[in-house]
């Protein structure tokens, strides 16, 4: 189960972006107190309901997801849960200087949780480069160097010297080191840039498709990823691919739509505007054009419920409907990880709770049995 920890209190009248310039006067710490604790309860509950794991991620200066430090949330989960995986997908490596901080904090979470961390590494969203001052034209270089350094921290005895283009460190010797050996699983989320998919294929790590696109965009990206793995001389395994999707289950199709639709539109129309900022050099012009070309297939530009359903932007309906549609998608995309967003936008606590329960009891066991135990992770 994936959680964004969104801000559900943007004023009705506000029509600006949710990113970079969204006035933080809209934030209210007292409401934040209630919200963080509610969202943490939801994540902790996922374990009792039988989920394989939970996912949190990093975003800055926005109303879409209020975890500028997902590691804080993950460390709470590490202490409050006992069995499930905790995936941080991920830390935006170029924003950490030195990136040793990521190696240290991830190792802490892995130790506290007893080896349950999945270590996500991201370049960071386009808007983050406006909010943090890091040069987006250096983003890929920094990401690649930082990632190599972090893996080295976990696999090579310290102290050692690191002399890279962006980071120069005379004594690399992080304490602690992770429980999992050689290191925690590494997941790389991406929105379809060629560079990211080639990179993940080369390292034989796992690629998580970023949501809110039409299903054909997911399909195209996973097909490209499989080809990229083939070019590296191996067949991609389903566990190397993850499909992230909003899901809502209620007793009937009609009830599911009626309960969920307003919250989905708050998400699409209030929290997505501004997410698609692509700063210069953040991807190659070739990838940028491809991603801009896919923009018509992005949820921000979807106008009707029928389009949401047809494009599988979200899977919404009765348990039978959700089971069938998810099974079809899992087979069609060939993915071995499914990351479900069971809270979205303004979806309140009571509906989120029931959605989680229905998904866990009516859908999750079916997906496990039908598709194999590994297909329903998270």
């Amino acid at each position: 189960m994936f959680h964004l920890m969104p801000w559900p209190h943007l004023p009705e009248s506000y029509a600006g972006p949710a990113w970079v310039k969204c006035p933080n006067a809209f934030y209210d710490g007292r409401r934040g107190h209630a919200l963080y604790n509610r969202y943490l309860d939801e994540l902790v509950r996922a374990e009792a309901l039988g989920f394989d794991g939970v996912c949190v991620n990093e975003h800055h200066a926005n109303a879409y997801g209020n975890m500028p430090s997902p590691n804080l949330i993950a460390s709470i989960l590490a202490r409050q849960t006992e069995r499930m995986r905790i995936a941080v997908v991920g830390n935006a490596l170029p924003l950490y200087n030195p990136p040793l901080r990521v190696a240290e904090e991830y190792a802490m979470i892995d130790c506290i949780s007893g080896g349950r961390l999945i270590a996500g590494m991201v370049v960071g969203g386009g808007p983050e480069y406006y909010s943090n001052g890091i040069n987006p034209a250096e983003a890929r270089e920094r990401f690649s160097e930082a990632l190599d350094l972090i893996v080295r921290c976990w696999t090579e005895p310290g102290p050692f010297v690191h002399t890279g283009k962006h980071y120069k460190l005379r004594y690399v010797n992080p304490w602690p080191t992770p429980v999992q050996k050689p290191h925690p699983p590494i997941w790389i989320p991406g929105a379809g840039s060629y560079e990211t998919m080639d990179f993940v294929a080369r390292r034989r790590w796992a690629y998580m498709g970023i949501p809110y696109f039409h299903k054909r965009i997911f399909k195209r990206n996973f097909d490209y990823f499989r080809e990229a793995c083939a070019k590296e001389g191996y067949a991609a395994s389903p566990e190397q691919m993850g499909w992230l999707v909003p899901v809502y289950v209620a007793e009937t199709d009609a009830r599911a739509r009626a309960e969920f639709e307003p919250h989905l539109w708050y998400f699409a129309r209030k929290l997505l505007p501004g997410i698609n900022v692509s700063p210069p050099g953040y991807t190659s012009p070739r990838s940028a054009l491809k991603m801009l070309g896919a923009f018509g297939d992005f949820m921000l530009n979807v106008g009707s419920w029928d389009e949401i359903v047809d494009g599988a932007y979200a899977i919404v309906g009765s348990p039978a409907t959700v089971r069938t549609q998810m099974a079809e998608m899992i087979h069609w995309l060939g993915v071995g990880n499914v990351l479900t967003l069971l809270q979205l936008g303004t979806l309140p606590a009571d509906l989120t709770r029931r959605n989680m329960e229905l998904f866990a009891t009516e859908v999750l066991p079916h997906l496990r049995n039908e598709i194999g135990p590994r297909a329903a992770a998270s």
Partner: protein, 263 residues
């Protein structure tokens, strides 16, 4: 028509357009708008042999991966002058190219014979921040860059209200140009905090030319350049935005040539 060739400079390809008669002149272009040969270059070429190189990463010029900041661009142009066998030249620099020109004139004063800065980036004034070049939509850019919103280029930008309206080759060139500019000027944003104090080192006679209606780099920056460069003059072009080379080529050529012909 200018001659087009690719020149090798320290392992980088430089697309160089050269045209005209007379003594050499180096023209350093803005973030893309005047990278191709335009009326302004024709006008300057009546009196000078105009060299118009594309900056690293722009047009067919390569080597952006060797550029990590403004100092690399300055050295690149000093190297190019060496390749062209030019000791000292008059330099006209517009916008981004104006920043580069000012840096060369401050760091290598002996290489710049006369200096014309046109709506140059490169400085920073807290009270008048440089406009958002990277995060703006094409219509917002048109608003910042042009006084005459009916200028064909302004109209083209204003019509690009969604990505579907942007021709792919234009988008590709624009993305490349912005990436190359970001390598140099993302942060500190389109300026060099050391430049302002170094401008006292400029020995070239200098003319600062500014579009009065520039909303990307407002006129106060032109005044700052004039105040910091010893002996510099300032010519303000009325009814003109950030790109005099595009919007007022005849007026720009006239004031520039008038200044460059003084000895």
């Amino acid at each position: 028509m200018p001659a087009r060739r690719i020149v090798q400079v320290a392992g980088k390809d430089v697309r160089l357009l050269t045209g005209g008669d007379g003594p050499p002149l180096l023209y350093l272009h803005a973030v893309g708008a005047d990278v191709d040969w335009l009326e302004i270059h024709d006008r300057l070429a009546r009196h000078f042999t105009v060299h118009l190189p594309a900056h690293p990463g722009f047009a067919e010029s390569t080597g952006i991966e060797q550029v990590d900041g403004i100092a690399d661009v300055v050295l690149h142009y000093v190297d190019l002058l060496g390749v062209l066998g030019l000791r000292a030249v008059p330099v006209v620099g517009a916008s981004f190219g104006g920043w580069i020109a000012a840096e060369i004139a401050a760091l290598y004063p002996e290489r710049v014979e006369r200096l014309v800065l046109v709506d140059a980036l490169g400085l920073w004034i807290d009270a008048a921040p440089i406009g958002e070049l990277f995060g703006s939509t094409p219509p917002e850019l048109a608003e910042m860059l042009f006084h005459d919103q009916d200028h064909p280029l302004a109209q083209m930008l204003r019509a690009m209200t969604s990505i579907a309206d942007v021709p792919e080759d234009f988008a590709h060139a624009q993305l490349k140009a912005l990436e190359a500019a970001a390598k140099v000027g993302w942060n500190p944003y389109m300026h060099d905090p050391k430049l302002e104090v170094r401008l006292r080192r400029v020995t070239a006679p200098t003319l600062v030319v500014w579009g009065r209606e520039d909303r990307l780099v407002p006129l106060v920056y032109g005044e700052r350049y004039r105040d910091r460069i010893p002996g510099a003059g300032l010519e303000v072009l009325p009814r003109c935005g950030h790109l005099p080379a595009i919007e007022r080529p005849a007026e720009l050529a006239e004031v520039a040539l008038d200044f460059l012909s003084q000895t």
